[in-house]
């Protein structure tokens, strides 16, 4: 390396350093101004969304078409404001977006090669342009994980029967993990679709997930179906049905869950005990069955039975005391003693 090259490299490095310092300084100076402008823009957007004239909505969506920051601000404002205003405003916004070309631009964004543009299009399309399940469903199989989750979020937000069907169909593929779809199935439309899908042979492989989703939706109409799965379903279906019944609750589920404590498959027994525990005092009639399972071969069944007896309260605690005194199984006595100690410590801490 000649001295000339060395000094040239030094000068170039100093130039690069100066550039970096300038970038930092400019970003810092502009940041505050940009944030204030965004905040002001969102306030104006919220006002227009709530009570602006159609021409103002047109100007708003036109600006969003041209500027990325405005698009993000419009999207955030629409997400926060629209649920609280008259549905007609959402329709007016959709019309304005279509007229200003924002919808067409966003639709093109869905097939962009840039994953970030696709993701952004999903969000803007869902909250501003009124995209339907048919628009978003293909993106559940997108190459980019973030876009897939954004599409699932969009379908949850739309919340109609078609979007619930799209989410249920996606359960049959591996693109989005099942639990991410299950947690996005919400509302009465989802319950209807799930109740149908549970009985269709085409969904047999994903039935455990459908059962879990039914429990998460919490629709009481599912109780009968869940009981039948707990009685006659496959291993995984029975486990999920027990969990779902515990989540939906209700005294009606107690006899079936009590019966499930005698299941051949230990995870079903453990889940049934846990579900009875979740029902608390409502499961008082199951105290005998729970006590009988305190000597189960599985540690988890014993543990869940002890916890359930503790959760039941009064008669459950009496049963635990009896277990400590006279249960023939050492492990059952140990679990009962632990549950009682936990109960006593909890009471002591509360006092």
């Amino acid at each position: 390396m000649t001295p000339h090259t060395l000094f040239l490299a030094l000068a170039a490095s100093l130039g690069l350093l100066a550039l970096l310092v300038a970038v930092i300084a400019v970003r810092r100076v502009r940041r505050g101004r940009r944030e204030r402008r965004s905040l002001r823009q969102r306030e104006v957007f919220a006002e227009i969304l709530e009570c602006g004239a159609p021409s103002e909505l047109g100007r708003l969506t036109g600006r969003a078409r041209r500027s990325g920051t405005s698009r993000i601000n419009l999207c955030r404002t629409a997400r926060a404001t629209l649920p609280g205003v008259h549905p007609a405003r959402a329709t007016a916004l959709r019309d304005a977006a279509a007229a200003s070309g924002l919808t067409a631009r966003t639709r093109r964004g869905l097939s962009s090669r840039d994953a970030v543009r696709r993701g952004e299009a999903v969000v803007v399309g869902t909250h501003v342009c009124g995209f339907t399940a048919a628009d978003l469903e293909p993106l559940l199989a997108d190459d980019d994980g973030d876009v897939r989750l954004a599409a699932a979020d969009g379908l949850m937000h739309i919340g109609d029967t078609d979007s619930a069907r799209a989410l249920v169909r996606a359960l049959c593929h591996d693109h989005v993990p099942a639990e991410r779809l299950v947690e996005r199935l919400r509302g009465a439309a989802a319950a209807d679709v799930l109740l149908d899908a549970c009985t269709l042979p085409g969904y047999a492989t994903v039935r455990p997930d459908l059962i879990e989703a039914l429990g998460a939706v919490g629709d009481v109409r599912a109780e009968e179906l869940l009981r039948s799965f707990l009685r006659d379903g496959g291993d995984e279906e029975r486990v999920r049905a027990a969990r779902a019944l515990g989540a939906i609750g209700g005294v009606g589920a107690v006899p079936q869950l009590e019966h499930a404590l005698d299941d051949d498959f230990w995870p079903v027994r453990a889940q049934a005990a846990k579900a009875l525990g979740a029902l608390g005092g409502m499961a008082a009639s199951a105290v005998g069955a729970l006590a009988a399972r305190m000597g189960d071969q599985s540690w988890w069944v014993r543990a869940n039975c002890a916890d359930a007896l503790r959760a039941v309260g009064g008669p459950g605690l009496d049963t635990l005391r009896e277990c400590v005194d006279s249960h023939p199984d050492r492990y059952a006595r140990q679990r009962a003693a632990e549950a009682l100690a936990m109960d006593a410590a909890a009471r002591g801490a509360t006092a």
Partner: protein
């Protein structure tokens, strides 16, 4: 002859220097691109769903504790304020000789229970397992002392959930950090491990186990470490992660798939850098078994940690890191240059061997030879000085590159004064500090080669100042580590 040797060595140093700086430049550019992509993605990532859903993958947080009585209760309490629906905190008392267990017992009314381990890993004897009736998410394991890796393996045996996060008991996770890490596992199901950024808390204000005002301390040493951390995480790891070559996930803050870690054999108790070793082994295990996998670094989940405030403690820490790294490289040398290990064997590992393992020795030799050669008139003193100036400016470029990435995405240090302190630290670290750290790392390398074990070293904990009324109404308090 001497002149030829000096010239030859100078050429070797120039080549070394050029490759090293080009790599740093590449990492900084990749870091900038990764952060730009991350900023753009913020618009359509909804972390609240991950945090609130009962179906988000549950996480076991493992907290190994050895003689942490002054901070343990505060640390555990801060973990319970995390914004995540389903998680458990497993504290492993690794045979502490102080009141660590007693403090926990008093604070959480612990009750001893019978628990069956859920994984087969060899660990030191477990004396008891405790749960809390007041905080059902807490499990405390009391065991015979066996070191941090052994404590983590014990935690793995008793952890219930599919993901686990190993944190140090003196660190503080930001409330939304867990959800942000889990997001990666949901978006990319092949992910086996992911790490977040570790930031230095010294100088910041803490209230209710939360960092409420981020600031830099007066201490130059700590400011230099802040710049180092920013450079290592925002330029280094982000860049390596972007290339799919991440070899280190910080032991202070990483989220792992429990089943894969157990299959791979858990933490290695024979190295002092158990966190780095685990990541090396995960690469190796997944490649050898043909399992599709991804290890990544995400820049926005934050974990705050206390930085050493004295040069002596810092030197011990860096000594340990260097020894840990070398042990990992030596242990996994089989991966070097082998086709079955892909880019890890061809790029990442050779880089670590040349620039991290042997690098400090080469740099030290460079300083000595160039100074001696210049003094003896074998090379022009002007050239030597210009070369040193170039290395300083390059160092500044990478430090300012990391600060620019920080400004682009996070702006955690909002005050100009903090930025000025960091800029000052970035400039001053090139004189004395950098050379001293090279010396420390070179000494650690030599000691390891000679087989002299320096042990773990001791990190002095100053803990948090607990004010008499540490309730919500209390004024924000300052961490007294700076």
């Amino acid at each position: 002859m001497l002149h030829d040797l000096a010239t030859g060595f100078s050429i070797a140093m120039i080549v070394y220097f050029a490759i090293l700086n080009l790599n740093y430049l590449l990492l900084t550019v990749l870091g900038w691109r990764a952060i730009s992509d991350f900023v753009r993605r913020r618009t359509f990532r909804d972390y609240s769903m991950v945090q609130e859903s009962s179906r988000s993958v549950p996480v076991s947080i493992l907290v190994p504790a050895f003689n942490e009585a002054p901070v343990i209760v505060e640390s555990v309490r801060s973990l319970f304020s995390l914004d995540y629906r389903q998680f458990e905190v497993v504290v492993i008392n690794d045979g502490s000789s102080d009141d660590t267990l007693e403090e926990l017992r008093r604070a959480f009314a612990l009750v001893e229970v019978d628990r069956v381990p859920r994984a087969q890993l060899e660990t030191a004897e477990v004396r008891g397992v405790f749960v809390s009736p007041t905080e059902h998410r807490l499990v405390v394991i009391d065991k015979v002392n066996g070191g941090k890796a052994d404590a983590l393996n014990t935690g793995l045996r008793y952890a219930r959930f599919p993901l686990f996060c190993a944190v140090d008991s003196d660190t503080m996770l930001e409330r939304d950090s867990l959800g942000r890490l889990v997001w990666q596992f949901q978006a990319e199901p092949d992910t086996v491990a992911t790490g977040g950024i570790v930031r230095i808390v010294n100088g910041s204000t803490i209230s209710d186990s939360r960092v409420t005002r981020v600031a830099t301390p007066r201490s130059l040493l700590v400011n230099i470490q802040i710049v180092e951390y920013l450079r290592a995480f925002l330029a280094g790891r982000l860049g390596w992660s972007r290339m799919g070559l991440l070899l280190i996930i910080s032991g202070a803050f990483g989220l792992f798939r429990r089943d894969v870690v157990i299959e791979a054999g858990g933490y290695d108790t024979a190295t002092v850098g158990e966190d780095a070793e685990l990541v090396f082994r995960l690469h190796r295990y997944c490649r050898e078994t043909g399992r599709p996998y991804k290890l990544s670094f995400i820049a926005d989940p934050v974990c705050w940690t206390e930085a050493p405030t004295s040069l002596k403690v810092l030197a011990r820490q860096r000594d340990r890191w260097q020894r840990g790294l070398i042990q990992c490289i030596v242990k996994h040398r089989r991966m070097l240059g082998r086709r079955e290990y892909g880019r890890i064997g061809f790029v990442a590992l050779p880089y670590f061997v040349v620039f991290e393992m042997i690098g400090p020795l080469l740099e030290l030799a460079g300083y000595v030879v160039v100074t001696v050669s210049a003094a003896m008139g074998l090379i022009s003193p002007g050239i030597a000085l210009a070369f040193f100036a170039l290395s300083v400016v390059c160092g500044l470029i990478f430090s300012f590159g990391a600060l620019a990435i920080e400004e682009r995405a996070f702006q955690r240090y909002p005050r100009w004064r903090c930025l000025a302190r960091l800029a000052m630290a970035a400039a001053l670290e090139n004189f004395v500090y950098r050379q001293y750290m090279t010396l420390v790392r070179a000494r650690a390398t030599v000691r390891l080669i000679l087989g002299r074990d320096a042990g773990w070293g001791e990190m002095l904990r100053t803990g948090y100042t607990v004010e008499p009324s540490a309730a919500a109404q209390a004024p924000p308090r300052k961490l007294t580590a700076s």
